[in-house]
Amino acid sequence: MTSHLLSSILFLPLAGMLVLLAMPSENRKLIRGWANAVSIATFLLSLCLIIRFDINAGGYQFMERAQWIPSIGAQYLLGMDGISLLMVLLTTLISAIAVLCSWRSITDRSKLFYSMILLLETGVLGVFLSLDLFLFYLFWDVVLIPMYFLIGIYGGERRGYAAIKFFLYTLLGSLFMLLGFLALYFQYAAQYGVYTFELQKLLTLNLPAGTEEWIFFALFLGFAVKIPMFPLHTWLPDAHTEAPTAGSVLLASLLLKMGTYGFLRFSLPLLPKASTQTWIVQLMVALSLIAIIYGALVCLTQRDWKRLVAYSSVSHMGFCTLGIFALNAKGLTGSVIQQVNHGITTGLLFLLVGFIYERRHTREISEFGGVAQVMPFYATVFAITVFASAGLPLLNGFIGEFTILSGAFQVNLWWAVVGVIGLILGAAYLLWLFQRTMLGPLKQEENKSLRDLFPRERLLVLPLVFLAFAIGIYPRPLFAVLEKPVQNILMRLAPDPRSGIADSSPATPPGRNVSTQETVASPSACWRPALAPTTPALTQGAGSKLSAGRKNRAPRLLYRSTFLSLIQVEAR
């Protein structure tokens, strides 16, 4: 097991699924218990990674290599860096939660349901661990099938439509992605005379910019559908809304991350010329910004609670892609952190919607109001989640979104400005949702008898709430884990050492001891745009204090100032 840790984590859910298939389908308790045991065991096993992961090592860790299809140069090649570490931990945690949250809601055909979740877990883990493009593609597409069944069988009224839409969108995207991979594969063979899908070997490729652009767009179609980026997002609201709670949680928290992960792992490092091409960057950022604003505006118009949460993903994932295409250390780091945060908070949001749906069998926002009076615990958790999602300081969303915005600001003031508008809109629709559902008089008769969260449900949300606070208060481990991988990506993007260093150094977490003038100045610069529309005076103050070298006070000031700005929003 020492050397096969990744394989063990990867195949544990699959092995659990095979055992599950052999169980008698009438014995629901056994099936349910077993699925929970397997998913929790996988999570615990993945915790070993934290202990053994070496933050200071630059390359991939826990590498495993085996020949698979030598004639086409495909290998079984696993490995992990800081980005995949976070994604794997998120996957195992969310999967365990998704399994547990179906404890009571899934009664019919539970065997198929749990086996699909476990298969999905293996698929997603495989995506995050593969260092061979072919293997990656395999896992990528395998994920489609369990998700298709989860939506199509256990979903809401329009489940069939949603499932097929999801499947076709993703399949079409992934076919183009495969074309892109094959193009790289043939280019490598043309340059080196060897056929291989190994990522690290393909990284040595040097392609003409034109070729890179074509390949970039082939990969883009695959990744952008999954994220989803603006014009390709139309499958998402249907799929998320129709999926059962566990399905929505898995879809939002994990599957969307596969797309952004793809950009970070493949598009950027493999195609540095295309990824830094001005018009491509501008296009990507434009799409991200449109997603942020458009997603938020659509959220404001939603009457369906779950659909609102679904559209909020479009907006939040827009931040992730914005961070990626800021193409600097802060943007990239912030993007990964935001992905983790989105996994946590959107997972929570979907769980909470699921809880209320199980009780009331409706998701119409207008059916609710004043629920906080009968479900105080629920309302508290919901409030925390809403604040976390809206980017309130001391909670996780703040860290990611503001790091991204600071990264974006380094490149272009207006990107950050639009991002901040999106953030304000985000706070608006979330707080409005909270107000409409939780606050006010308890009008509906049915709502008066709603029961607060059961212990099992509390058990589900508490770890996520804890993480939301933990990341919000002490994000430093995340920054530390991401430092090396982000540097590696930046090195690929800018082989020119000058720009590389200037870009990579500000990846420091708030409060970290740094000495160069450059890094001192940049955090202050990065916060400014975020506050500019609301509290310019405060920001300048923060900036001047920072440049005096007392960096450890910066976060506190920033928290306070943003908090003020948020309150202003709320007051509107």
Binding site: D141, F149, G152, G160, F167, L171, L172, L175, L179, L182
Partner: protein
């Protein structure tokens, strides 16, 4: 002098599979007369034994590769592969037929011996190195399958299928034969190596236009057999009308053999002519993929849907042939193996659900299968996902190899368009999954019998094969590339 014309003993070993199939086929016909009505099943078992023995003989024949009977037959890796493939197809179909025929109360020896005879024809096609042999093999295979298609004499649709298959098939054979005649007239030979020699020799080369006509006539005949556009019209009617195990057989065996011949004739015989036929195949491949996939979109009868899907799959295989390379040949072989397994599996399940006299063949009739028989539904879903080309199934690797070969040959647009049509295909295939998993059981499920043992073997074997090809394609690949190198132009 006369001694040259007496075959060696080893030459008989090379056609041992055909000889054995012949013996078993005749034996079954003879035994039919003396077998009691209830014992007819044993004849099916005898057919199984015959096919297994022939398969072993095929492997044995491979230990002594070479030509036989004045170079009319070649036993090489390529021939061995295709002979093995059609025998596996036959084996699976006989297994599936055991239960099917019992349900119809129509067990007879004639059915099984027809399958064996058809297999003989396909084995000859796989090994032929001579156009006359191609014609003979094609006729043996076709005539047996014409009869099989109309096996249920009282069934109207069976009759329609047989008649259409026969008329259009004969028409196609006539084209082929005419092409062979042209070929003989131009090159003075019907031997493929000889044709190749004459065509590539600048001194002997006949006029290009005439060679083109000869090749085109042969191509038309073979495209009919593989149901490629624009010669695909017969396929939906025949596939729909014939009994499901027969359809499974028709869609896999004769198709594989016809592709084997197509490859051998065009890679060996007209190899040096490829720059002329490649653009033609390019458009035919694209047209076939488009017609097959788009026509399938509107089908409500699941057998008809599968018929159009198999037309589309012929299109994918043609893409690999268009690539005109050793990779392409290997891709064709892999594709046919994967296609045979998944398609037979699918048709066997369809036949199972259809119940007596094939009453339930609409897509809605599959509704609720997952609830009634989860294992059957899961296996059908596996075949469907394989047909779509989802990873970890044979269908995925098959498509992957095909398009990889196409890209290698710089057929970028054909690849892109082909991939696009295969995404379209996902839509109609998913209808089957939707019906099985997401609809409530209807009338058809009330009549659903448990899987008979023969059907069970066929379905599980096909599923296992599909998975093995999908997860460990390396079991087959080295042999395939070796076979392809045998066939590659000299």
């Amino acid at each position: 002098m006369i001694g040259n014309y007496v075959p060696h003993g080893v030459e008989y070993i090379r056609i041992l599979p055909e000889i054995l199939l012949c013996i078993f086929g005749i034996l079954i016909m003879v035994l039919e007369a003396v077998t009691a009505e209830g014992q007819k099943r044993m004849l099916g078992v005898l057919a199984l034994v015959g096919i297994v023995v022939a398969f072993a003989a095929n492997l044995y024949a491979y230990t002594v590769p070479g030509q036989a009977f004045q170079n009319v037959i070649t036993i090489d890796a390529f021939a061995t592969f295709f002979r093995g493939l059609v025998l596996v197809v036959g084996l699976l179909c006989v297994f599936a037929s055991l239960g099917y025929l019992r349900r119809q109360h129509a067990e007879s020896g004639e059915y099984y011996s027809l399958i064996l005879f058809s297999l003989i024809g396909q084995c000859i096609l796989s090994t032929a190195n001579e156009l006359i042999m191609v014609f003979i093999g094609l006729e043996i295979s076709s005539i047996a399958t014409y009869v099989l298609a109309g096996y249920f004499r009282d069934d109207r649709r069976n009759n329609e299928a047989a008649l259409k298959y026969f008329l259009l098939g004969s028409f196609a054979t006539a084209f082929l034969l005419y092409g062979i005649a042209w070929c003989y007239g131009l090159t003075g030979s019907t031997n493929l190596n000889e044709i190749h020699r004459v065509i590539s020799d600048p001194g002997l080369r006949p006029p290009v236009v005439l060679t083109g006509i000869a090749a085109a006539l042969i191509l038309i005949g073979l495209l009919f057999k593989v149901s490629a556009a624009p010669f695909q019209i017969w396929a939906p009617d025949v596939y729909q009308g014939a009994a499901s195990p027969v359809t499974a057989f028709l869609s896999a065996g004769p198709k594989a053999a016809a592709f084997a011949v197509l490859l051998r004739i065009f890679m060996t015989g007209f190899g040096s002519f490829s720059f002329r036929w490649a653009p033609l195949l390019w458009s035919i491949a694209l047209l076939t993929m488009i017609i097959g996939n788009f026509a399938a979109l509107t089908q409500s009868n699941v057998k008809r849907l599968m018929a159009y899907s198999s037309i589309a799959h012929a299109g994918y295989i043609l893409v690999a042939i268009t690539a005109d390379s050793q990779l392409g040949i290997a891709a064709v072989m892999f594709y046919l193996a994967a296609y045979a397994l998944m398609n037979i599996g699918a048709f066997v399940v369809i036949g199972h659900v259809a119940a007596k006299n094939e009453r339930y063949v609409r897509i809605e009739d599959l509704a609720g299968l997952a609830k009634r028989q989860p294992a059957t539904a899961a296996l059908f879903a596996l075949f469907v996902f394989s047909l779509i080309g989802v990873p970890l199934t044979g269908g995925f690797f098959a498509k992957f190899y095909v398009f990889r070969a196409a890209l290698e040959a710089h057929l970028v647009w054909l690849t892109v368009l082909g991939l696009a049509t295969s995404a379209v295909a996902a839509f109609y295939y998913l209808k089957i999954v939707v019906a099985m998993y997401m609809k409530e059981p209807g009338e058809s499920m009330a009549d659903l019998a448990p899987l008979s043992s023969g059907t069970r073997v066929a379905v599980w074997a096909a599923a296992l094969g599909t998975l093995i090809l999908g997860i460990f394609p390396s079991v087959l690949l080295p042999f395939l590339s070796y076979s392809a190198s045998m066939l590659g132009r000299q």
